[in-house]
């Protein structure tokens, strides 16, 4: 069958699986909300203080939530042998892998966008920066999934891959954190953020093009 | 310049010499560790061969 058919079949399969498992969607989301709730408790609830650090907190939490959710990207496929079948498909592995990453983002990244407004209210962010926050999450979280996929593909075969995964992935998340966090901060003070948004778009496009290949190569390495 | 002046480094002796000393230690360690490892490994291989 055609490549596009395989591509959408993989996405659909992973979405169905996520729906039947559910906890995969809920866990990172709960983690995201929980971490953000902890900050006011930890540093005190002075409105101006929270407001000042809100963009940073939201983005750091999003980074951690994205990283925690990564394990589910290839874990079950690796354990039950589905990954072998995907690698044996005559279709290019990188395209099938991209499909899996997209499905994973729809399940774990997109929900972050939906709860972000609620958290922005918690942290007293000005209303006019909410749009930019959503935009940066929309552009940034797919990058986290794409880059994270490389790391998780490298470590999926390891028994204790979790710690090493964070070491591999978090440093690579730095640019997204910087530009996205900064865009939200600037938007809060009413400054233009076109540059940051454009850079985020560029990073997203680059990640879309460049990340699936090393992910596929890493999966081949992990399966042996 | 006297020796004393040289070692005093214009009052920055602590910073300058700590930097240089630390660098020396790290660089030396990077040579010594693999050499020692190799010597040990060669010795264990030789022992293994003798046993056979």
């Amino acid at each position: 069958m055609s490549l596009s058919h395989a591509f959408f079949a993989v996405i659909r399969r992973d979405l169905v699986l996520a729906l039947r498992r559910r906890s995969e969607i809920a866990n990172p989301l709960l983690f995201f909300i929980l971490v953000i709730t902890l900050f006011p408790l930890g540093i005190g609830a002075q409105p101006h203080l929270l407001q000042a650090i809100a963009p940073g907190i939201i983005w750091v939490s999003a980074l951690l939530a994205a990283m925690l959710s990564l394990d589910s990207l290839f874990r079950s496929d690796f354990d039950d042998g589905s990954l072998e079948q995907i690698l044996l498909s005559p279709h290019p592995t990188s395209v099938l892998v991209l499909a899996k990453i997209i499905a994973h983002w729809l399940v774990t990244g997109l929900p972050l966008l939906i709860v972000a407004p609620l958290l922005a209210v918690f942290l007293g962010m000005p209303n006019h920066s909410l749009g930019i926050l959503l935009l940066t999450l929309l552009l940034g979280t797919p990058v986290l999934s794409l880059i994270g996929a490389i790391g998780v593909a490298l470590t999926v075969g390891l028994r204790r891959g979790g710690m090493i995964l964070s070491l591999l992935v978090l440093p690579l998340y730095v640019p997204v954190l910087i530009f996205a966090g900064n865009a939200v901060q600037m938007a809060g003070s009413g400054l233009p953020v076109d540059a940051q948004i454009n850079i985020l778009i560029a990073i997203l496009l680059m990640a879309l093009v460049l990340a699936p290949m090393p992910t596929a190569a890493a999966l081949k390495m992990s399966i042996n | 310049m006297t020796m004393q002046e040289f070692f005093a480094m214009g009052g920055y002796a602590f910073y300058v010499w700590t930097s240089y000393g630390l660098t020396l230690i790290v660089l030396l360690a990077n040579i010594i560790i693999p050499v020692v490892q190799r010597k040990q490994f060669l010795r264990s291989l030789a022992l293994k061969q003798k046993r056979q």
Binding site: M1, D80, P90, K220, N224 | -
Partner: protein, 207 residues
């Protein structure tokens, strides 16, 4: 398979070293359409490693594998092979039909449509059952159904008889005989001795 052309799988000078242990060296074989290659040997003798090398999951430490005269990566090898391994590749949260549809999407349609393939492996009517409700033997037969619905010439089977009863074993032997008769070929490992009177079976002992 439609063209009934002769296919061939050759390995030459293959060797595999695992954790300092030479599993096999200078291994060579040639398999053409209609033949079965049975790998025998003790546990840990490198049977599964050889299968995984054939699948491209592992690199051989020396030697090469050719499909119809070309290196595996420069040939339509992956479009013409199917693998049933130690792990069954079945998603337990999906139904039988959904599982098979996924396999179909990853490859191209072969000899039988899904319902016929299920009937052939004695699982007719199980279409909408979740895979987690299946017994081990049923799961095994489901993964074998994958071989029937996708287009392929070469079957690579790792211990296909595990968790099957006498009936199930006879079923696979029938399927294998049919596959070879229609120009297919099979590489498999097995603890059981296989009973394929009408097929040309080569044996390699790996110990």
């Amino acid at each position: 398979m439609q063209t009934q052309s002769i296919h061939s799988l050759e390995g030459s000078g293959l060797s595999c070293i695992r954790d300092d242990r030479v599993l096999f060296e200078e291994l060579a074989f040639e398999l053409v359409s209609g033949q079965v290659l049975l790998l025998e040997g003790k546990n840990g003798s490198g049977k599964t490693s050889l299968l995984r090398i054939l699948c491209g999951f592992r690199e051989p430490d020396a030697g090469e594998i050719n499909w119809c005269g070309d290196a595996v990566n420069d040939s339509p090898f992956y479009a013409q092979m199917a693998y049933v391994g130690h792990l069954d590749g079945i998603k337990k949260e999906l139904t039988v039909r959904e599982n098979l549809k996924m396999s179909l999407a990853l490859s191209s349609p072969g000899q039988y449509p899904i319902h016929e393939a299920l009937a052939k492996v004695h699982m007719a009517g199980y279409d909408d059952v979740l895979a987690q409700a299946l017994s081990a033997g049923q799961k095994r037969r489901l993964s074998l159904a994958r071989l029937l619905i996708t287009e392929n010439v070469l079957w690579i089977l790792d211990e296909p008889f595990t968790s099957l009863d006498k009936q199930g074993i006879a079923l696979i032997e029938t399927l294998m005989t049919e596959h070879c008769a229609s120009g297919g070929m099979i590489v498999l490992t097995s603890h059981h001795d296989i009973d394929l009177p009408d097929v040309d079976v080569q044996r390699i002992n790996l110990s």
